[in-house]
């Protein structure tokens, strides 16, 4: 049986469109922000771009263990980290705009939002609520699965529901 997606959607007056708009907005945000993650050094040579914002976790610590990870693991190996961030954000933009694997990518986006928060929250002139709202938006997408409406999840789920494979069962859970 295909479960209904969002919490609180049982009322005939509820509309999926606000959460579809949130999903699309997050997709555009990640797509656009992938644009300034610039290889090959991602700003390490002149302390700009991604390198600058990542190093703020050391210069303006938010949480000790995360600062230790950034200082000892991430900054010394910045190029592979930069590529991971670029590819992940590109994928986030693509999949959230498509509404494919929406719940899975909302979880990935949530993890990215938490790491961004732990890096930049203590920057001067940073507004912490913007970061909390970013986290909340991903939580809302995770909870309501808006890819099932005006998204590819809604088109592919009937096919997966008919399949007996474990991969299809997993796909149903993460969309």
């Amino acid at each position: 049986m295909i479960k209904r997606a969002p919490v609180g959607a049982d009322s005939p007056t509820s509309s999926p469109w606000p959460m579809v708009a949130v999903r699309l907005l997050l997709g555009v945000m990640w797509l656009q922000n992938a644009g300034w993650k610039r290889p090959p050094d991602f700003g390490a040579n002149d302390r700009s771009g991604l390198f600058f914002f990542t190093s703020t976790a050391v210069d303006h610590p938010v949480w000790g263990p995360y600062t230790w990870v950034v200082e000892n693991l991430i900054l010394p190996n910045f190029t592979p980290f930069g590529w991971t961030v670029l590819l992940t954000e590109a994928a986030l933009g693509a999949f959230l705009l498509l509404g494919l694997g929406t719940r899975f990518w909302a979880l990935v986006g949530l993890a990215m939002s938490v790491t961004i928060t732990l890096s930049v929250m203590r920057l001067p002139a940073e507004w912490p609520y913007a970061l909390w709202l970013l986290i909340a938006a991903h939580l809302a997408v995770l909870a309501t699965a808006p890819g099932r409406h005006a998204g590819l999840d809604g088109l592919l789920r009937p096919m997966w529901a008919r399949s007996s494979s474990s991969l299809a069962a997993r796909a149903l859970r993460w969309t």
């Binding site: 509820s14 797509l31 656009q32 300034w36 590819l87 590819l152 809604g154 529901a161």
Partner: protein
């Protein structure tokens, strides 16, 4: 004789309008499948159409930029979007237009293999962008946003090709 299992999501007296978040049409038989295929085909055309639109706008905006120049322009740039969204040069714009038009044609005629070819084309655009962005030679003038856009187009067309009936 075993009873015929009822299709998922079908309940007596249920009205689809009361359940706005209900998945597609469910596995409820030929009529539902046909509707699903039509919707998937429309989605393919929307996805391919977006590529054509981005390429067309990019062609206009990149008029002063060389064909395979390392200079590039953003397709969309507005203060509401906090910076450039998808950069390209004339070669990049042409690639989007050609692939998008091919996608429209293959989607219209429900040619699955054609759509795989187009998805492969977008994959090539993405790989080329990832390999050359930030370097001296950037044939398509793309940035990380272009990589994301190409990924969206390729994955979208590929995934939907498995829903539509091949011609």
């Amino acid at each position: 004789m075993p009873s015929v299992p009822t299709a998922p999501d079908q309940q007596e007296g249920a009205d689809a309008h009361d359940r706005p978040f209900e998945d597609g049409d469910g596995a409820d038989g030929a009529g539902g499948d046909s509707n699903l295929h039509q919707r998937a085909r429309r989605a393919q055309m929307v996805i391919a159409g977006v590529a054509v639109l981005m390429g067309a706008v990019g062609t206009i905006r990149a008029a002063d930029v060389g064909f395979a120049s390392d200079r590039s322009v953003p397709v969309i740039e507005h203060r509401f979007v906090d910076g450039p969204l998808v950069t390209l040069n004339q070669a990049g714009a042409l690639a989007l237009v050609v692939l998008g038009l091919a996608g429209l044609v293959f989607a219209w005629f429900a040619m699955r293999r054609g759509l795989w070819l187009v998805a492969g084309g977008f994959a090539l655009v993405g790989i080329l962008t990832a390999a050359q962005y930030g370097r001296e030679v950037n044939l398509l003038g793309g940035n990380g946003s272009m990589l994301s856009f190409a990924l969206m187009e390729g994955v979208g067309l590929l995934a939907l090709s498995f829903v539509t009936r091949p011609s």
